[in-house]
């Protein structure tokens, strides 16, 4: 047990170290791509708090991604805030949005929950699309620059892709660690139990609505962080951030990677982007390939890529164990 724990810690540290030294070997484009992957990994992880851990398939998660992004763009464009206050405000805006939408959505289950979140998500989409004076309509908010990171003792420019990569890396790692702690806590246990059997949970004295609401708000908050990072990465907040097709991305990533393993959705984000990256090098119709890859993965990897790999590995280890 103790040995296993230290092994895990070592592996995690090695992974983090890898992410930190990666830019020293890679070109600008790889750094940019990895920044985007990190941001989407956080987005997918936040989605999976609902999907993999609470059993709620949200089809409007992009609403909070977008709220975070728009709030960030707005703060930077109009108030020229520095990074941390702007990020804090965007996070709060997304969390508030999630609290309000969550209050209604968590009243329904399964496909109805999915449809309600889709509905609310698209209402937010309409809002940003139509309120041209505030949001720039379908063009979105564009033309701002990445704010400086004001650390009181020192002001850092995040203009270069490398600087922004490191900033995103730190924020995404912190966000992922918070989410991870959440899943390991008693709260996380209750969420997982609700995923298995919400009725039973209410019969041991848990107000499932309250817990779902908190999970929904937490997931929305973290999606807001990812969205704020993404708006700066893209130098724009546009309605496509809020559209249902954006909500479909974390769903895809989570199921690709494996919703029952904490880092599964992050791996899903990685697979998604690398697939897209490689396929679009050879052909413009990458959707047909994505579909052609998606279909067998769904059929043959029922626990997602990471989940299935782990199951295989465990079987292998068990067999070895029996051999001894």
């Amino acid at each position: 047990m103790e040995k296993g724990k230290s092994l895990k810690l070592a592996a995690l540290l090695a992974g983090a170290l890898f992410l930190f030294i990666f830019p020293h070997f890679a070109g600008v484009f790889a750094v940019l791509l990895l920044t985007e992957i990190l941001i989407f990994a956080l987005f997918a992880l936040s989605f999976n708090l609902l999907f993999g851990y609470t059993g709620l398939l949200s089809f409007g998660h992009a609403a909070f991604f977008g709220l975070g992004g728009y709030a960030m763009a707005f703060m930077v464009q109009h108030f020229h805030l520095s990074m941390l206050p702007a990020l804090a405000i965007s996070t709060i805006v997304a969390a508030l949005g999630a609290a309000i939408i969550g209050f209604f959505s968590i009243r329904r289950d399964e496909i109805y929950f999915a449809m309600l979140t889709l509905g609310f998500g698209m209402m937010i989409f309409t809002l940003v699309h139509q309120w041209r004076s505030l949001t720039g309509g379908s063009d979105g908010i564009t033309g701002f620059e990445v704010p400086v990171l004001d650390l009181l003792v020192k002001k850092l420019s995040l203009f270069s892709p490398w600087a922004y990569y490191y900033f995103s890396l730190v924020v995404c790692l912190l966000g992922a660690i918070l989410l991870w702690r959440l899943t390991l806590s008693p709260f996380g246990l209750i969420l997982r139990s609700m995923r298995e059997n919400p009725e039973r949970v209410s019969f041991v004295g848990i107000d499932i609505k309250l817990y779902r609401w908190i999970a929904f708000t937490a997931a929305g908050l973290m999606a807001g962080v990812a969205g704020a990072l993404f708006a700066l990465y893209d130098r724009m907040a546009s309605p496509s951030m809020v559209h249902w097709t954006m909500s479909a991305k974390p769903v895809l990533m989570a199921i690709l990677g494996g919703p029952r393993v904490f880092l599964g959705p992050a791996l899903g984000a990685l697979i998604f982007y690398l697939l897209e990256h490689f396929i679009t090098q050879y052909t413009q119709s990458w959707m047909i390939f994505l579909g052609a890859i998606l279909v067998p993965i769904v059929i043959f990897f029922p626990q997602g890529v990471l989940g299935t790999l782990i199951a295989w590995a465990q079987r292998l280890i068990r067999r070895e164990g029996h051999g001894e």
């Binding site: 999907f51 209604f104 329904r108 609310f120 209402m123 199921i255 579909g291 998606l294």
Partner: protein, 285 residues
């Protein structure tokens, strides 16, 4: 006043198209528990097949017979090959798989027919316009608005008077019971998927003379069809009919009266209905 009437007709015309699509969606969901994301793509395929058939057979009505059949056959094939391994798994897998089918169909259509827009003439008999209270209105749109109830009646007869229809209805109400009373469930599922996608294809053919045929037409309609099906009540026949009419009217009248928020209206409707009636208008608890 006459604007209102014309817009109501517009709404009904759109609603009836939606109804035919949603009917297929709701049957598939009711019987198989599968929310078919690719349904809009089957609709699109219907329109494209009509486009492809038109120069060969020179007859819209014949295309209306053949194209949906081909779409249904493709649907049945994909059900047998792809969807079958997934029964019993979580609904999200089926959603994702049909999303994969959507991606493939959308791009395949673009590879075959190119990315451009195409158009088809309405059949001669229906290509003119009529005067309604001093406004001109296309005969073909009127035809669709009237065809909807005819198809609805035909479907009603199918479901209530024929053995297959009764079986599908029984299975939609209680899947376990259906297998218990000796219905060949795999065959039934394939048949239902065939029939459901056939309806989507039929709607596609009917829409072809009305709207531009393009690679994006499926994505635009699928969310609307989802809304209809959920608002009406998943698996409910009457629900799909009423839901489609409501959504059609909401879209058309929204443009007339509240153009600024018209885009949000379908979603507003969806959220309100679900909060007040958790299982939709005609869904069973």
């Amino acid at each position: 006043m006459d604007t209102l009437l014309i817009n109501i007709l517009n709404g009904l015309c759109y609603g009836m198209l939606l109804f035919i699509i949603s009917m297929g969606l709701t049957i598939i969901f009711g019987v198989m528990g599968v929310l078919n994301f690719a349904h809009g793509s089957f609709y699109m395929l219907g329109a494209y097949l009509c486009l492809w058939l038109a120069p060969h057979i020179h007859n819209f009505w014949l295309a209306l017979l053949i194209a949906p059949f081909l779409v249904g056959a493709l649907g049945a094939l994909s059900e047998m090959a792809l969807l079958r391994p997934l029964y019993g798994r979580d609904i999200s897998f089926q959603l994702l798989l049909t999303f994969g089918i959507l991606l493939i169909l959308d791009d395949a259509v673009k590879l075959i027919w190119g990315p451009g827009y195409h158009s088809i003439e309405a059949p001669k008999a229906l290509s003119g316009t009529v005067q309604i209270l001093g406004s001109t209105y296309p005969v073909y749109s009127l035809f669709i608005a009237l065809l909807g109830p005819v198809i609805a009646t035909a479907l009603w007869f199918f479901f209530h008077k024929t053995a297959w229809g009764k079986m599908i209805r029984a299975a939609a109400m209680d899947r376990e019971m259906a297998s218990a009373i000796g219905i060949n469930v795999p065959l039934l599922f394939t048949a239902v998927f065939f029939f459901g996608t056939l309806l989507a294809g039929m709607a596609g053919v009917l829409a072809a003379p009305l709207r531009a045929i393009g690679p994006a037409m499926g994505d635009n309609i699928i969310i609307a069809a989802f809304i209809v099906v959920v608002v009406g009540g998943l698996g409910s026949f009457l629900g799909a009919f009423i839901g489609a009419i409501i959504l059609g009217l909401v879209e058309a009248l929204g443009i007339q009266f509240v153009p600024q928020i018209q885009m949000a209206l379908p979603y507003l409707l969806l959220a309100l209905i679900l909060l007040v009636r958790p299982r939709g208008l005609f869904g069973s608890e």
